[in-house]
Amino acid sequence: MTSDQNRRTFLKVAGSTGALGLTGLAGCAGSSSDGDGGGEGGSGDTITLGGSMSLTGDNADLGRLYKDSYQETIDRINEAGGVEAGDGNTYELEMVLRDDGTDPSTSRSIYQELIDREGIDYLLGPYASSVTLPASAVAAENQKPMVEGGGASPEIFSQGNEWIFGLLPTANKYAKSYFDMALEQDSPPETVAILAEDDTFSQTTADGAREKIEEEGLELVVDESFPTETSDLSTNLGRVRDNDADILLLCAHQQHNIILANQMESQGVNVDAAMGTVGSLNQSFKGEVGANGDYIYGPTSWDINANFDDPVYGGTQDFVAAINENYGYPPDYHSAAGEAVILTFVNAFESVDELGPTAVRNAIRDADPFSTVYGEVSFGDNGVIDKDMLIRQWQPDPGLQTVYPSSVAQADPIYPMPDWSER
C-alpha cells in the first residue's frame, strides 16, 4: 500500500469514524410503554390524586420508590380517618398512578386522559426531569396543580409555569451548603477553586456556586471547565495547588470524582476541603479510591439518619421503619420526597376554604414551612422547594457521616482535611 493510498484511506476512514463516533455519542431516547390501570374520579368524600410514573423500563426501580411511598402514606392517612379539609368535610384519599415507561409522550397523554376522562384535579408528578418538563406543561394548560419529587432540572421551573411545584433542590443549589459549612469553621476559607464538567447539570451547579462565592465575598482563584471525555485532571489540579485554593469544588459525576481523589494524592494537592457534587457519596466511589476518598464531601437532599417531625408517621425514623417493614427495602431520598408530595397536597387541602385546583395551587404556593419526613417544605416563587442540601463526609472512622447542618449532623466535619503527608 502506498503512502498516498494510505492518506486517501485515512480520509475516508476519518470521516466515517467521526460519523460513527457521533452516532455512538448521541445516545438514545427512552422506550415507550403503554399506560393502563384505572381509577375513579373524585366522588363526594374522596379526593383523587393522579399521575404517571416509571413503573416499567429503565427507571422502574426508582419509580417503584415513589409508588410505594405514595401508597403507604395515603393508606396511613386514610387509616387515621382521612383528611380534614378546610371546607369542614373529611375526605379519604385515593390514588391513580399509571405506567409511563419513562416516556415523555406517554406521560403527557396519561395526564391529559386523567384530567379529561377521570376528572382528576390534583396531579402527582412523574419521575425524571425529561418526563416532568412536558408533563408540567399539561398541568399548566389545564390549570391543575402538580407536585413532583422526581424532576430537578431548573428548566422545569424557568417556564413561568405557576402550576408546578418541585421537591428536589435544583442543580444550582447543590453546592450552597458546602460553602455555608466551610464558612462556619474556625479557619474559614478565603479562596475557592471550581473544576466543572461541561455538561448542563454540572455547569448549572457551578453557576450556583459562583453566585454563592460572590455573595459571600470569597475569591475564586481557579474556575476551569473540562469536557466529559477528560480522563486526566492533573493539569487542572496543578492549578489548584499553584493558586493555593483553600477549598475545592468539583462539579462533575462519579468518574471524575474517582480521578480527583486519586490525582489529588499523586499530585500532592492539599486543600482544607474538597467536594464532588454527584457520585462522591456512593459506596462504589469509596470502593474504587479507598483511603484517597477520605475527607471528601458530597451533597444529598435527604439523609436516612435524619429525624424530622412528620404528622403522618411521627418522624423520619418511623417512616424508614414502615417502608423497611412493608416493602422490604430501606427508603432513599426519592421515597422521602414522595411522602412530601402527598403531604404538600394534604397541607393545602387542610388550609383552603373550598376545594378546587386554583385554591389548592394558591395554598401550596403560600404555605408556611411545614415538617415532613423529608424535612421542612415550603416553595419559592418559581415553585421549587426552598431547601438546602445536607453535606456528608467520608471519615476514616466510622465512614460516611452527615456533617451539616448541625441540626441533623452525626459528626463534626473534619476540617481542614489533613495534608497528604500526614495521612
Binding site: 492518506r7 469514524t17 469536557p227 471525555e229 486526566d232 493539569t235 496543578g238 468518574q255 480521578i259 474504587e288
Partner: protein
C-alpha cells in the same frame, strides 16, 4: 515553571497514547484494517489487570511490583483475544470494501462495550498502587511516581515491539506481509497466521497500556472510543505504520493537549488536537516521519 509542568504532564500521559497508537498503526499497515475496536483492547487490558489484582489482593490495590506482575498475564490474554478475533471475524472481511471492514470492527467494539457493561457495570474503576510518598518534585515540577512508572512501561512496550519487528523472524515476516502479501506468500510465509499474530501483538500492547491507564486514570466500559480517536491523530502525526512516528506523535499529542489545557482551557484540548490533525493532513499529508515510514 508552569509550562515545564504542563510539558512533563503531557510527556507522561503521551507515552501511553503512543503505546496505544503503535498497535493501531501496525494493524493498519500490516493487515490493512482500520481497527475501530482498538480502544476496547485498551479497556479490556485495564479490566484484566484490575480483576487479576482484585483476585490476588481482595481489593484492586497492591504494590507496584504486584501490579507489574499482572502485566505478562494481561499481555498474554489480550494477545490470544486479538489473534482469535482476527482469525474468526476480521479475516473474513480483509480485501473487501473498506466500509465493510470498518463496520465489522465498529460492531466488535460495540459488542465488547455492551458485554463489559453487562459483566462489570458502567461504574468507573481504578487500580490503587501504593507508594509511601506518591510524587517526586524535581526543580518545582511534580512528577507522580506511578505516572513515571507508566511512562517507562509504555516506552518499554513500544521499544520491545520495535525490536521485535526489526530483529525477529516473525517480525520480519510481519514486515514482509505489510509490504507485499502475495510475495510473502510465495516465499513461504503463512500470511493469515502472520496477520493474526500482528492483530494479537497490537491488542497485547494496547492491553498493556490499558493496565497502566487503570493505575493513573480510570477505566470504564465506554472508554475505548476516545483512545481510538487519539490513535488516529497520532498516526497522522507520525505517519502510517511507523513506530518511531507513533511514539513521537503520542508524546507530541500529550504535550499539545496539556499545554492547551494549561494555557487556554481543558475545553479546547480536543478542538486543538483535531485542528492540528486537519492542518497536518493539508500541509504535510505524509506525516511527520514522511515517506521514510517503514510500513
Amino acid at each position: 515553571m508552569a509550562i515545564a509542568q504542563f510539558v512533563v504532564n503531557g510527556l507522561l500521559v503521551g507515552a501511553l497514547f503512543a503505546a496505544v497508537a503503535v498497535g493501531f498503526a501496525l494493524i493498519w499497515g500490516v493487515v490493512d484494517i482500520i481497527n475501530l475496536a482498538h480502544g476496547e483492547m485498551v479497556m479490556l487490558g485495564g479490566y484484566t489487570a484490575y480483576w487479576l489484582l482484585s483476585i490476588a489482593t481482595g481489593t484492586a490495590e497492591g504494590s507496584v511490583l504486584l501490579f507489574l506482575a499482572t502485566l505478562p498475564v494481561v499481555i498474554a490474554v489480550l494477545f490470544v483475544l486479538g489473534y482469535v478475533l482476527q482469525r474468526t471475524l476480521v479475516s473474513r472481511v480483509i480485501g473487501t470494501d473498506i466500509f465493510l471492514t470498518l463496520l465489522v470492527t465498529f460492531g466488535i467494539s460495540i459488542a465488547i462495550q455492551q458485554l463489559a457493561i453487562q459483566a462489570w457495570t458502567a461504574n468507573p474503576r481504578s487500580i490503587q498502587v501504593g507508594f509511601a510518598d506518591p510524587s517526586l518534585i524535581v526543580a518545582g515540577v511534580v512528577i507522580p511516581k506511578m505516572k513515571l512508572v507508566a511512562f517507562f512501561g509504555a516506552i518499554v512496550l513500544t521499544a520491545i515491539l520495535y525490536l521485535f519487528l526489526q530483529r525477529t523472524r516473525t517480525g520480519r515476516a510481519i514486515r514482509a506481509v505489510s509490504q507485499n502479501p502475495e510475495a510473502a506468500a510465495l516465499v513461504g510465509i503463512d500470511v493469515e497466521h502472520t496477520r493474526a499474530v500482528t492483530f494479537g501483538i497490537s491488542s497485547a500492547v494496547a492491553g498493556g497500556a490499558g493496565a497502566f491507564i487503570a493505575t493513573i486514570l480510570n477505566i470504564e466500559p465506554q472508554m475505548g472510543l476516545i483512545y481510538t480517536l487519539k490513535s488516529f491523530v497520532i498516526v497522522v502525526f507520525g505517519g502510517v505504520g511507523s513506530i518511531p512516528g507513533a511514539l513521537t506523535g503520542g508524546l507530541l499529542l500529550g504535550v499539545v493537549e496539556e499545554l492547551t489545557a494549561g494555557l487556554i482551557s481543558s475545553r479546547w484540548t480536543l478542538a486543538v488536537s483535531f485542528t492540528l490533525l486537519i492542518v497536518l493532513l493539508v500541509v504535510k499529508p505524509q506525516g511527520l516521519f514522511g515517506t521514510g515510514a517503514d510500513e
